[in-house]
Each structure stands twice: as C-alpha cells, then as structure tokens.
Symmetry: C2
C-alpha cells in the first residue's frame, strides 16, 4: 500500500492507474484525487448483481466528470455464490446495528472475498494497459468489520500482484515493483474523506452509497452505509446533499 505524494500532472507521460469505481462516496472521492494527481484513469466497475445497481449510473457519471481515459463495467454474477445481503435476496440488509457498534463484527453486507476478486480483475486490466497503479477506496476506520479492507490485506495483495504477472516478473529482474496498490483513503475518517472530496469539487448528490436505494437511486437513510455516510457529513460540518426516500431527521 502506498500513500500518494502530491505529484504534478505535468510530466510528459501520465502514470496509468486502474481505479476501482463503485460510484459510492469513497470511490468517487478516490477518482477525484487520482485526477487531481494527474493520473490517466482506467476506471473499472462491476455489475455483480448487487441490489444497488443504480450505483453503476453513479460510477458512469464519476468516470465522465473526472475524465477517465476508459471505463469498463464488467459483468460478474456473484449472486451464483450467494452469502451476502448485497447479492442474496434471502439475507436482509442490516438496518439495526447501532452506528457506534458497526465494525465490531463482519456485517451481512460483506461480499465473500470481494476486494480480492475486484483487485485481481483490476490487476488483469492493469497488465493489459501497461498501468502500474491499482487504486482502491478501502477504508480501515469506518469499515473495520471487513477483513479485506485492512492494511495487511492490501500489502499482501501488492506482493501477490508482483509475483503473479508477466510485468511483475520482468520488473523484479531490475529490482522494481511493477504494481503498487494505492489506498489513500485507508486511514481517513468518513468526515475527512467528505472534506477532501468537497475541496476537490465532488458533488456528493451524484454518488450512491445506500445498500437498498429505491428505483430512482434515492437512499433509504437507514442501512449501515447510509448512517455512516450521514455521520460523515455531520462530523465534517458539511450539509448532506444525499437524496433520501423520506425526510431524515
């Protein structure tokens, strides 16, 4: 995992980055940050039969807004496996756990091995495009309940990426690492992420975070993702522009 230095985008050849873009608050902020650091963005989204597929429209808006060089939406039917409230209609979305207790246990919204799967496909994409960076919006602070958001996981994936690939093998001969996993939001609070994105010009009304939005993409205001997001705006002292289904007190 690498914390990004503030680099100018003026170099002759841009650094190519594959960026995992869900269309939610974190990954849209990530996209704005990569753009501000002059990366040539190859955005990758997944249609994995998630309940909240309107987030794919949000991903397309973010890729356009932040001038991604390319945006691939890959179809991947993880609902064949089941095991998560996000892909298996028989497992309810958690609306009950109090905000301060989210992170104590692995939530029902955990999709088995999701970040391993997504980073693997980002790696395949990166290798074919000559991209050296894999950007991912994982966050240890708010989502400590997800095992595949931890720094140790990210570091081990970076090691794997450099063992697994033609580019990794060839660069290892000259002592370089072909691939870096870039996770700049990893140690930020939701409030810090919201403040960063606001500074960069992200319009959060255009992002979808909710795990069970209505057909129009409006947020339920009640699932764990909604509540963490809302608390982030409050802590940052910023107005919450999210479009909710009902009035939120």
């Amino acid at each position: 995992m690498t914390t990004m230095k503030n680099e100018s985008g003026s170099r002759a050849e841009k650094i190519k980055a594959v960026l995992l873009l869900s269309g939610g608050l974190d990954s849209t902020t990530l996209c704005a940050l990569a753009s501000s650091q002059g990366r040539e963005i190859h955005a990758l989204s997944f249609d994995y039969h998630q309940r909240h597929r309107c987030e794919l429209d949000a991903a397309r808006r973010a890729a356009a807004r932040w001038k991604a060089a390319e945006h691939i939406v890959l179809s991947l039917d993880l609902s064949l496996f089941g095991g998560s409230s996000l892909t298996d209609a028989s497992i309810p979305v958690d609306h009950e756990t109090p905000l301060e207790r989210i992170g104590e246990k692995i939530p029902t919204s955990y999709v088995p091995a999701r970040n391993t799967v997504f980073l693997s496909l980002a790696l395949a994409y990166a290798e074919t495009r000559g991209a050296s960076e894999l950007w991912i919006g994982v966050n240890q602070v708010d989502y400590s309940g997800y095992p595949d958001c931890r720094a140790e996981f990210i570091e081990t994936f970076e090691k794997l990426a450099n063992l697994a690939t033609r580019a990794g093998v060839e660069d290892a001969k000259s002592g370089r690492r072909a691939f870096r996993v870039v996770a700049p939001l990893s140690k930020m609070s939701k409030a810090e992420i919201v403040a960063l994105g606001t500074r960069l010009g992200v319009d959060y009304a255009e992002t979808v975070t909710c795990y069970s939005p209505d057909g129009d993409g409006r947020a339920c205001g009640e699932c764990e993702a909604c509540r963490l997001r809302r608390a982030g705006f409050e802590a940052a002292g910023l107005p919450d522009p999210t479009r909710y289904v009902g009035k939120i007190s």
Copy 2:
C-alpha cells in the same frame, strides 16, 4: 500450497473443496484425484470468452464423471481486457516455438493475472460453501513460462486467502488456517500426470487441451498445449487417445 496426503474418504463429514476445472488434461486429472481422496467437490469453470470454449463441455463431463456435488460455470468476459492469444483474436496462437524451448519465455497464451482471478473467485465460492480447500491444477514443470504457476505465487495466494476472508479472520483467532491451496500436480511432469490419471480411470479422449480446436472439439495437434500433451503420452509410454483434426505423425 499443500501436497495432499492420501486420506480415506470414509470420514463422517467430507472435506469440501472448490476445484478449478477447465476440462483440460491437468484439471481433469486433478478432479479424479480429489474424488479418489474423498473430497466433496465444488467445481468451478469459467466462460471467459476463450477461443477453446468446447473445453467447457469437457468440464461438464468431468464434473459428472467424478461426481462433483456442484458445478458452477461463471461467465467472465476477459476479452474486454484483451492481451492474450486465448481471448484476443488479433494475437496469434503460437505454433512455432520448439517443444524444448516452451517455458523459456512467457507464451502469447498467457492470460493476464488469470490464476489470480480464478483463485479469487474460487475463494469467494469456497467461503460461501464452507469449503476449506482450493484445488488448482497448476504445473511448474511444463509451464514454467507462466508466472502464476510458480510455488511462490501459490503460497502467497494462500496467505492472502486467510487475510481476505471472514473465515480466515475467525480461524486465525484459534491459530488455524481456514483455507489451503492444494496444487498436487505442481511438481509432476506431464508424463507423470497422464500416468496418474490413467491409473485413476480418466478417459483422456474426453478432455480438451488444445488452444485452437475445431468446432467439434478436435485438437489441432500443433499449438504448444497440444505438443506438450502429446509428448506427455509418449514419455509415459501410453497411447494418445486425443481426437485430432488431421493425422498426427
């Protein structure tokens, strides 16, 4: 990576294994071996828009023959990324490299990050089924040109699997590893694999190895995969039952 001990299948509860099944010679032998060791097999194949899609029919036959508890064929359009002669029609299949030089360089049939992607999805599947083993038919001897067939890659993936998952995190508390990557063919020659499968009752006429078979699933006899396979039968002193397009001298 774990070398399998010869365990009896008579225990009260079978060990559950997700097994990557392409329908080729190696993975079909792997499936026969897992069956002989009493595993409850959850076979996983990919329709990744490969040229040689008739191998999926071979995978279905192998899953039925070796009594897999379940067989999932997951659609995954890796041709969106390109970069391999197996998925990108603009890159020719290699018919030229002499047999003794295959392995010196990474072949054009290398699919970027393929084993990382396939193992990641096997891991997701395993976690939802409570399976503790991921079986993969990688082979270091004949395919040393593929970086993601090496022991170091397999070991690092096993480490990642145990960091990446709910089951991995929970088992780590009791000092156990939730997942093992099982690659019993890793150090075997093609001749040893053919001899093992023949002993176990594999009908190799039913398997598809060729990278550019005809519409009827008959092998070209000329690509690197065909030539390695044919040499394996010769070295094992066994008749080659492969159905070829033309007569092979």
